[in-house]
Every structure is written in structure tokens, then in C-alpha cells.
């Protein structure tokens, strides 16, 4: 479980996050949603430590990450897997080397053991016979899958996904969502997904935190998002005419 307590973050005069608190449950797909520019990605970066929050604390299973020393932070980070918006695959390494990278650096596994683990993870995300391809030779959807494989290769306790569907067609988006959900349940990990994709919200939002102008204005699940009674959330969810007419019926 990950707990955040009164996280605030400003850039010069602009307040991006205003005292955000909440919990992300283990074994669930936790979503942070909101329109563009509401601070979702900044919150995610504060949680994983890529940005230091101005105030507040982040706890990984009761371990205070914000005030941890460098060694402790490094230890916690080794339990984290992260899927970045663009995949963030290393251009100079092929698919197999990319997925194997965390094992090379963080473990003392033998070559054969590492290769087996890499092949297992690639198969798990539905990729085969792409081991020797370079990132520039595979599609956007495949890059995301490789990114997921790399994120889970070291058996993480926490999985973070920053807009996993951006730039993908609706069908591939759903496949990626389902994959994230399956992996979350299968490995019983705490997954946090930042998205503004409504298909994701409805499909995998077991626990949802809605941000609006830097504030957390609602928390719930995909089961009760339609009846939240929060105007900002309604405006976000029922954006187009089809969704509006669905709500009215």
C-alpha cells in the first residue's frame, strides 16, 4: 500500500498540487485522473521521487519515502516498476537488453536465468520473437508492452504507469489496460495509473482519485463515478454528447 499525506507542489508562483492526501491499495488498479494540467503527472513524479514535494510525505508500506536517506530511497525504488508515457526504452539497447536491464543492474542472476525471466515477461505481455529488435523498429503499442515487461521483470511491489494509453488506438489501449489490470491481480502489486482516458477509467478504475486544479475533489471507483454529484467530475466524464445522453437515460 502507498499512502500520501498532504502533498503540495508549486513551480514558482503556480501551485500545481494543493495538499493531496490519499491511499493506493495493494492488489488494485488505482487511478489518478483529471484533465490536462491538473497535476496528475506531477503527483506521480512526487510519489516516485522524481520531483521533491514542497511539503507532505509519501509512505511505501509505512516506510517514509520523502524523509528517507539516499540508501533507503534507492532500496525502495528497487521495488518500483514504472511505465513511462513514451515507453522510455533505451535507444541503444534492443528489446531483450531493455527488459533485462533491471536484472543486470539490480540482481546477481546468471545469464540463463535472466534470459528465462525476460522471455517469461515478454510472453506475459504478448510479445514473442522481438527480442533482438531495436526500439526504433517496433510500434508504439509494442513499446508500451516492452515498457511493462521491463517494469515487472524485477518482481516489483509497486507499479506506476504514466498515461499508458497515450498515442495508442482504442483497441490497443484496451489491451494495455487489461494487461495492467491482469498483472496487478496476478502479482498482487500496488498499481497507480495516471490517465485521462475514459475507457481506462471505466475499464480498470478499481479505485479512482480525481484531481481538479491541483486539488483532490473526489475519490471512489468506476462503479460510482457516474453518480458522484461533483460537477467538475461530471464535466470530465460526460464530455461528449453520447456520454451526456447516456447519463440522461
Amino acid at each position: 500500500m502507498i499512502k500520501i499525506n498532504s502533498i503540495s507542489k508549486s513551480f514558482r508562483d503556480k501551485t500545481v498540487l494543493n495538499s493531496i492526501s490519499g491511499e493506493f491499495d495493494k492488489g488494485k488498479c488505482n487511478l489518478i485522473i483529471g484533465a490536462s494540467g491538473t497535476g496528475k503527472s506531477v503527483l506521480l513524479k512526487c510519489i516516485v521521487g522524481l520531483l521533491p514535494p514542497d511539503s507532505g510525505h509519501v509512505y511505501y508500506d509505512l516506510r517514509n519515502f520523502t524523509e528517507a536517506d539516499k540508501e533507503m530511497k534507492s532500496e525502495i525504488r528497487r521495488e518500483i516498476g514504472m511505465l513511462f508515457q513514451g515507453g522510455a526504452l533505451f535507444d541503444s539497447k534492443n528489446v531483450e537488453e531493455n527488459v533485462m536491464f533491471p536484472l543486470d543492474i539490480l540482481t546477481r542472476m546468471g545469464d540463463e536465468e535472466k534470459r528465462e525471466r525476460v522471455n517469461f515477461c515478454l510472453q506475459r505481455v504478448g510479445l514473442e520473437n522481438v527480442n533482438k529488435k531495436m526500439p526504433s523498429e517496433i510500434s508504439g503499442g509494442m513499446k508500451k508492452r516492452v515498457g511493462i515487461a521491463r517494469a515487472i521483470v524485477n518482481n516489483p511491489n509497486y507499479l506506476f504507469c504514466d498515461e499508458p494509453n497515450s498515442g495508442l488506438d482504442p483497441q490497443t489501449s484496451i489491451l494495455i489496460d487489461e494487461l495492467i489490470l491482469e498483472i496487478t491481480h496476478e502479482f498482487d502489486i500496488t498499481t497507480v495509473v495516471v490517465t485521462h482516458d475514459m475507457n481506462s477509467v471505466m475499464g480498470i478504475g478499481e479505485k479512482i482519485m480525481f484531481l481538479y486544479k491541483g486539488d483532490k475533489v473526489w475519490e471512489g471507483s468506476n462503479q460510482n463515478i457516474a453518480s458522484s454529484g461533483v460537477q467538475a467530475l461530471d464535466d470530465f466524464v460526460f464530455t461528449n454528447k453520447v456520454m451526456k445522453s447516456l447519463k440522461e437515460t
Binding site: R77, I80, M82, D91, F101, P102
Partner: protein, 243 residues
């Protein structure tokens, strides 16, 4: 001053939370190939022509019959060892290797590859930059030696083939009044320049923010700042070691 302070902190960050020796060994080896082996052709080409042109121009300016002709190759030797091989090659090194380092790291930054390393608990600065600096310190002095030899050979070929001076005169000039410290001085300079170019270029690339345009700007800044640092260091080293 703020940038200088940030640069010093950046250098300090290279030596904390390092990975295993084997990790760096492989990375340094890869960087040596990238930085050193792939620069050999350019260095050989430029230095050979530089030696040739220096010979021709020195000969053109030595019009007095009272000056023996072997002085031409002596001048070529001194110029090559003291300045052309370590310093002019450093500017070429900054243009080729420095811009490549800054561009590569800048691209890694804007495509979140550096963030990916950080999230894995890896000190990205140490992992990415330290091997580049070590490889530069290993390879640049070797490149300077290659450049020096090629420049002297280029001068020999052009000098003898065009009839400016005989092979014997050229070799006599090369050997006349030779001081070994000149070579030591060139190697000391090459170590300093290699460190300055690789660290400054990496610093510029590592702190790139924005998009493709900013990567281009970082590469340009890396070359400009490296060249200025090299020229300043060249002056101070000459004052320190030769005066």
C-alpha cells in the same frame, strides 16, 4: 556562478551511489570504442593535413638563406607537440565527441530514459556520465599521440615530396634540440582537456529540459563552453608549466 556551482555539485554526484565495478568496466569499454576508436579516422585526417600545411607555410615564410632548412621541421615539431596536437585537436574533439555526448544525454532526458534509470534506483549521473569521462581520459591522450605522429608524418611527406627539404633535413630538424618535457606537457594538457570537454558536455546534456530544440541548444552550448574552457585551461597550463 550558479551554473558553476551546479557543475561542481554535478561532478560530486558522479561519485555517490555507484554501481558495481563490472558495470562500469563494460560501459567504459563501450565508451572507449565510441569516443576513441570512432574518432581515429577524423584525427588522422585532420592532423596529417595540419602537419602538411604547417610545413608548407613555415617553408614559405623562411626566405633567408642564413636559416638552415631543417629549422622548418623543428618548427613543425614544436607547433605540433605544444599546440596543434593537444589543443587544436581538443577543439575538434569537443565538436565531435562533446556535441554527441550532450545530444545523447539531452535526448535521454527529454524521452524520460534518465527518469527511468532514477526510478530503478540507479544514480543516472554516475551510470551515464562517469564512463564517458573515464573513457575520454583514457582515449584522448592516445588520440593526441596519434595526431602528433600523423602531423609529423604529414609534414615529412609534403616536405620531402615537394622538395621543400630533404628527408635527412626533416629528420634532423625533428631531432634537433628536442626536449622530452614537451611531450609530457602535451599529455598533461590532453588529460585536462579530456576531462573538461567530457564533463562540461555531459553537464549540458544531462540538464536539458524541453524538446528537440533544446537538445540542439544544449549540444551547441556544450561545444561553446568546452572550447572556452579548453582555451582558458591552455593559457593557465602554459603559464603554470612553461614559464
Amino acid at each position: 556562478m550558479k551554473s558553476f556551482g551546479k557543475y561542481i555539485l554535478f561532478l560530486g554526484s558522479l561519485f555517490v551511489r555507484r554501481e558495481t565495478f563490472m558495470t562500469y568496466y563494460k560501459l567504459v569499454f563501450e565508451e572507449c570504442v565510441q569516443i576513441g576508436v570512432r574518432s581515429v579516422f577524423l584525427f588522422v585526417l585532420v592532423s596529417t593535413f595540419m602537419g602538411a600545411v604547417t610545413t608548407v607555410q613555415t617553408a614559405y615564410n623562411m626566405v633567408s638563406p642564413l636559416i638552415p632548412r631543417f629549422v622548418i621541421s623543428q618548427v613543425v615539431r614544436e607547433m605540433t607537440i605544444l599546440e596543434l596536437a593537444p589543443t587544436i585537436m581538443a577543439i575538434i574533439f569537443a565538436g565531435k565527441v562533446g556535441s554527441s555526448m550532450a545530444g545523447g544525454l539531452g535526448t535521454m532526458r527529454i524521452t524520460e530514459q534518465i527518469d527511468a534509470l532514477e526510478v530503478m534506483g540507479i544514480n543516472s549521473a554516475s551510470y551515464l556520465v562517469l564512463p564517458k569521462i573515464i573513457a575520454s581520459l583514457l582515449m584522448y591522450p592516445l588520440l593526441v599521440i596519434v595526431a602528433g605522429v600523423c602531423a609529423l608524418l604529414g609534414g615529412y611527406l609534403v616536405g620531402t615530396l615537394t622538395g621543400v627539404l630533404t628527408p635527412t633535413e626533416y629528420v634532423q630538424g625533428i631531432r634537433f634540440g628536442f626536449q622530452e618535457f614537451g611531450v609530457s606537457f602535451a599529455l598533461i594538457k590532453s588529460f585536462v582537456f579530456a576531462f573538461l570537454i567530457s564533463s562540461i558536455s555531459s553537464f549540458k546534456g544531462y540538464y536539458t529540459h524541453g524538446g528537440a530544440l533544446e537538445v540542439g541548444i544544449s549540444s551547441t552550448q556544450a561545444v561553446t563552453s568546452s572550447v572556452i574552457a579548453v582555451l582558458l585551461a591552455d593559457y593557465f597550463l602554459a603559464e603554470l608549466l612553461l614559464s
